[in-house]
């Protein structure tokens, strides 16, 4: 106990001398604060960068998946479809009487074929030809349904 008191006294006696010997510089605390803020700022930037990177990664994955899905989706060969429908139409017996709906379809087909031939003549790109072949396919489909109905009615 008295030894302890002695120690404290001893320390108390020595303290003023060592305290004055190690007086911290005046800018220490501002430097500590600045360093601390700097580290916080760096951590925040690192988090932001990581988040941004993750977002970019997710977006890149989504785009890749979309492109892959688009590539995987079977595209319709409208030209082949139209030609197949035309052959089906040829195989049907010629109707005895004309049908107004069939006439409308034929009239629109004639107009479309004129446009399609003009497109080929000017060397149009496939992306310009494709919608025309699609429309031809739709019209042939419509004409085929009318002709089939006519054949069915004539059999009845």
């Amino acid at each position: 106990m008295s030894e302890q008191e002695l120690n404290f006294r001893d320390l108390a006696a020595r303290l003023p001398a060592s305290a004055t010997a190690h007086v911290p510089p005046a800018d220490l605390w501002p430097r500590i604060v600045a360093t601390h803020l700097n580290r916080r700022r760096q951590r925040r930037w690192r988090r932001l960068a990581a988040g941004g990177g993750a977002l970019v990664l997710v977006a890149a994955l989504a785009i890749t998946a979309g492109v892959w899905r688009h590539a995987a989706t079977p595209t319709i060969d409208w030209q082949a479809r139209a030609q197949a429908l035309e052959l089906q139409l040829d195989a049907l017996p010629t109707p005895a009487a004309s049908n107004p709906l069939a006439q409308l379809a034929e009239s629109e087909l004639a107009h479309l074929d004129g446009n399609l031939q003009a497109a080929y003549d000017r060397g149009a790109a496939p992306r310009d030809l494709d919608p025309l072949w699609q429309r031809r396919s739709e019209l042939l489909d419509a004409l085929l349904s009318v002709r089939r109905q006519q054949v069915l009615l004539s059999r009845i």
Binding site: P100, A110, L116
Partner: protein
Amino acid sequence: MNPRLVFASILLLCATTATAASPSSSLGLLVDSANAQTARDGLRVLGATPGSVADQLGLRPGDVLVDINGTSLANLGADADGRALAAATFNSSLADLAPTAPLRLRVLRDGVFLAMNAPLHAAATSASVAPAEGAGDPPVGGGCGRISTFDVAPRSEHLYGAKILLLDGVTPGPTGTPSFRVSAGTHKLLVAENIPTREMGVGSYASLRSRRDNSKELTVTVKPNTTALLAARLNTEKAADFAHGAYWDPVIWREIPEDCR
């Protein structure tokens, strides 16, 4: 080949036809004029317009036109733009024919040569549809008629497919039917347009988002034994006006006589 000569010949040939872009078109023949590589053996037939001279001749997709009236179409090569010279030769041979001259074609089909002949004046035949009798007359009571979404409307008039959502407040059926039998008289339709996005001139995403609620009402008076053909007319000047739906209108673009029984 002189383009003016070809143009004059085309005009001469087209004098008897309603609509024609080139001599082959006036026959109702669709040929692969763009690709010289596929024209080694002759000019490849891509299609024949149903009901046309080419169709009546018996031409079909996949046929190869080897010669026309003795002029060979094989191994003619390409023009400066890489297009098949066979097409130009075919068109000029066709344009040089007198209107009453016979058209003689030698055709290669599945490895077999076929001969096809027809008088050229047959090209004058063209499909035309008369309006329904009594069109514009007041509706007659009794009888029945049809409302059809049969999509054969001319795109040149900005007419596109339409779908009937409700017919007099009821979902019409059966599903997939393009034509609905109705009593002669006035009917109320709720119509949705089926205009392809590419015709809008805007991005597909924006278009799809704004076209969710795209139905419109239309009152139709159906005459007895008449089919009223329904279409969606694209208002090209307001093609981007999705918010108010001003970009389209449902229309009856044609009435044709048809027994509705």
